[in-house]
Symmetry: C2
Subunit: 297 residues, 2 copies
């Protein structure tokens, strides 16, 4: 059993290695002048069961290519098996043709990993479960729910807690939370206001949130637009407090400012992606998936 | 017949389209906030023979992934055939394991294109011919030699001209030039000076260059280190003038400064890669491969 890591988020790999009582295999990896990536492992992988971790964070395309190149090198180094660990699966949102002449990039990624030499994929909270079917081999699908829900349950009085989905199209995640915590469910529904000519969206809260502590849950927070608007709607409807929690803190573009300026009392993520330095704030909590991943390995 | 282009170097695709008397198919392509690429073609590709051009320039990994995603979208849009045009083939220099536990990235790239849906590859002056064998399908391999050599022949008195290889390991390119121009051949040989403890390399010129106009030829100029050192050696050995020519002007890192400061009178490239703005100088000539590519299409 050997654990390898790309350069995107080595801290997570180090943590997983520590849990396993092993070290991450030292690897030489750098960019040539024209941006092509060079990779070489410092130890023999012959006959080993190899786990190769890479976080699909920015610059995401570069880190995906690096992971593919590392898989190729492992294959040619006679690894016995290659398991690709992608704590956050890049391109997961492009999992179908929303319109004609679009790619299905989530499927493409699965095929690229397979072609490079991956036998197995280990990932956390896929954007949709269907992506498991894209890979021609076993997919180990881990969940952050136990970790996140236990943290929230320990903090909040259960009698005051309401689980909220920020989007009517994605109630599935919130539903699992409500089940686990035995809490009532509410939904923020984005609606085009029929009385206004230009399409202003109104955030309608379905369910009772007055005086409640709302836990807004999603699989990922990217630019933070939807989630912060949903939080505002909850406060406007009398919520006593709002906590936001998601497995993947993508946190790109305007996310940092939005999170800082939001009235939300706490944001809880896992470390499937590195947290931007400017977001190392008191109200941002990052829980580690390393023990869960190590157990799966 | 339809021509598509990625965002890396649209000018070359426009030129090829013009030569063919068609337009480049309008395509919506942008980066999402987290760097994932979105692509959608504005016209139906159903039943068409599709040519998809992308230049593997910086940021090279991003443009490779974009091309893969575009191939996927073409495949799913029922294109009849998909020919990938890569004027400069990225990762060509990693075409073998130079040491153990290295990848063979040039082969990986061929496999990735195939997996995404490419039927055929059209490329210019591969770093090594073996790369043709990496792709599981036909490879159209174009040469810039006629274009570059005709330009040089029209400029320089043939009786004074000597073709020079900047590297003893890559005489093949220079050999073809010498053949075509009926000119004598010289070689710059990098040698470790045995008298000096720390490994200083000496550039030894094999062949007579005194009073000659030397044409230093290579397939690509990347950081310009080798080629500028070779030119210095030629001048030191009495060359009257030195012209440098290469198919691919990669021109990364310190290349711009090196080319500017060099005593070389002219650098001649083709437009398989875009020329960095700061290198739009009098002594840099860029010849267009568009007619050659259009003829092949
Ligand atoms: N990286 C991304 N960032 C934002 N939106 C995306 C991204 N990738 C795909 N999408 C779009 O998100 C929508 C799908 O969102 P959802 O239905 O919530 O999965 C589609 O319109 C996609 O084109
Ligand atoms: N993008 C690159 N830039 C510079 N050197 C590279 C690049 N890719 C591969 N190499 C190295 O170049 C050497 C091969 O050069 P060559 O024998 O001239 O093809 C090997 O040591 C490679 O690891």
């Amino acid at each position: 059993l050997m654990l390898f890591s790309g350069r995107a988020h080595p801290e997570l790999a180090e943590e997983v290695a520590k849990q396993l009582g092993i070290g991450v295999v030292p690897t030489k990896a750098f960019d040539f002048a024209n941006g092509e990536i060079y990779v070489r492992f410092q130890e023999s992988a012959r006959g080993a069961d190899c786990f190769l971790m890479q976080s699909h964070t920015a610059p995401i395309n570069k880190w995906i290519v690096e992971q593919l190149i590392m898989i190729d090198a492992l294959k040619r180094a006679s690894a016995r098996s290659i398991t690709v660990i992608v704590p956050f699966y890049g391109y997961a949102r492009q999992d179908k043709k929303h319109r004609g002449r679009e790619p299905i990039s989530a499927r493409l990624m699965a095929d690229l990993f397979r072609t490079a030499g991956a036998d197995r994929i280990l990932t956390v909270d896929l954007h949709t479960d269907q992506i498991q079917g894209f890979f021609d081999g076993p997919v180990d699908h881990l969940f952050a729910l136990p970790l996140l829900a236990d943290y929230v349950a320990a903090k909040v009085d259960r009698n005051k807690l309401t689980v909220v989905s920020p989007d009517a199209g994605r109630v599935r995640v919130a539903d699992r939370w409500a089940d686990r915590l035995g809490a009532p469910l509410a939904i923020v529904h984005k609606r085009r206001d029929p009385d206004v000519a230009n399409q202003v969206t109104v955030h309608e809260v379905v369910g009772d949130v007055e005086g409640r502590v709302c836990v807004l849950v999603d699989d990922m927070i990217d630019t933070g637009g939807t989630i912060c608007a949903a939080a505002d709607a909850l406060f406007a409807n009398g919520a006593e407090d709002v906590i936001v929690t998601a497995t993947h803190g993508v946190l790109s573009g305007p996310a940092a400012d939005r999170l800082k300026n939001s009235k939300v009392s706490e944001f809880v993520f896992t470390n499937t992606l590195p947290t931007p330095g400017e977001l190392e704030l008191d109200k941002i909590t990052v829980l580690s998936m390393a023990p869960t991943i190590a157990r799966a390995v």
